[in-house]
């Protein structure tokens, strides 16, 4: 999720969220394939259209399309062998049952304290 979230960041999440939050929000959820607690940005929500290489899909009433913020430059900086981000491009739409909470604040490290921003590029992808 670099550069938005860095390894070692301390985050506060709102676990009372029962529905997918608005596009651009960062969420924690149970990854469909592994049940691992994962963090991604909500690129498209229920009912949204997602354009794919070949065609498109329309998300169901409880589904979201979750993508990593990681840019090619960030992946390169992570070192050789850091492959493609594992996100909805790998496991498809994520049902709301998997949602754990919305990330809203970073309280550590000290020099990065603040609300979690939303990069403008994410919604253009």
């Amino acid at each position: 999720m670099a550069p938005t979230i860095q390894p070692g960041d301390w985050l506060l999440i709102d676990p009372t969220t029962a529905r997918w939050p608005r596009r651009g929000s960062i969420v924690v959820f149970r990854e469909p394939d592994s049940d691992l607690l994962a963090i991604k940005r909500l690129a498209a929500g229920p009912g949204d259209r997602v354009d794919l290489d070949e065609g498109h899909l329309v998300l169901g009433a409880d589904e979201a399309w979750l993508l990593s913020d990681a840019t090619d430059a960030a992946l390169l900086a992570a070192g050789a062998g850091a492959g493609r981000p594992i996100d909805s491009r790998r496991y498809g739409p994520v049902p709301v049952d998997a949602l754990v909470g919305r990330v809203w604040f970073r309280y550590g490290p000290l020099n990065r304290i603040g609300r979690i921003g939303r990069p403008p590029a994410i919604l253009d992808r």
Partner: protein, 143 residues
């Protein structure tokens, strides 16, 4: 200070992980599993013992699942969008092969297993056209 920090530190870790691809890919992995499926069906035709048949069906389905796994890894991890220039029907090749694996799982027809082998050979040709062994395998020591 240390205790205060420990008190504040999160207790749960979340992951934003990426693949860690080893970079070794070869359709031969899928072909070997598909060959097992072919041979098992062949043996089933020559043996009417119900216990043997039950075991053979179970093993055939396991091998078919492995073939599908290796095809998926090749599709998702090795092939990149730029390869579509050299192999425009790449997605169709994998789509059809994955469907054929599903068919083979439920079939005892040798022709279905042979068709899967042929499809994997087409994928092998695509792999070779985009770099193949030289790009993705560790070279053997020469004699």
């Amino acid at each position: 200070m240390f205790r205060f920090r420990t008190f504040l530190a999160p207790t749960t870790t979340v992951h934003a992980h990426c693949d860690l691809p080893c970079g070794v890919y070869d359709p031969e992995q899928a072909r070997i599993e598909a060959e097992s499926v072919y041979k098992i069906i062949e043996k089933m035709g020559a043996n009417s013992d119900p216990t043997f048949t039950a075991r053979a069906i179970d093993i055939k389905e396991q091998r078919a699942e492995l073939a599908k796994h290796h095809l998926d890894v090749l599709w998702h991890d090795y092939f990149k969008p730029e390869h579509l220039e050299k192999v425009p029907n790449l997605h169709e090749l994998f789509w059809n092969a994955a469907k054929q694996v599903s068919k083979v799982k439920a079939s005892t027809d040798l022709a279905d297993a042979k068709k899967l082998l042929d499809m994997i050979d087409e994928i092998d040709a695509a792999w070779k056209a985009t770099g193949g062994e030289e790009k993705t395998r560790v070279q053997r020591a020469t004699a």
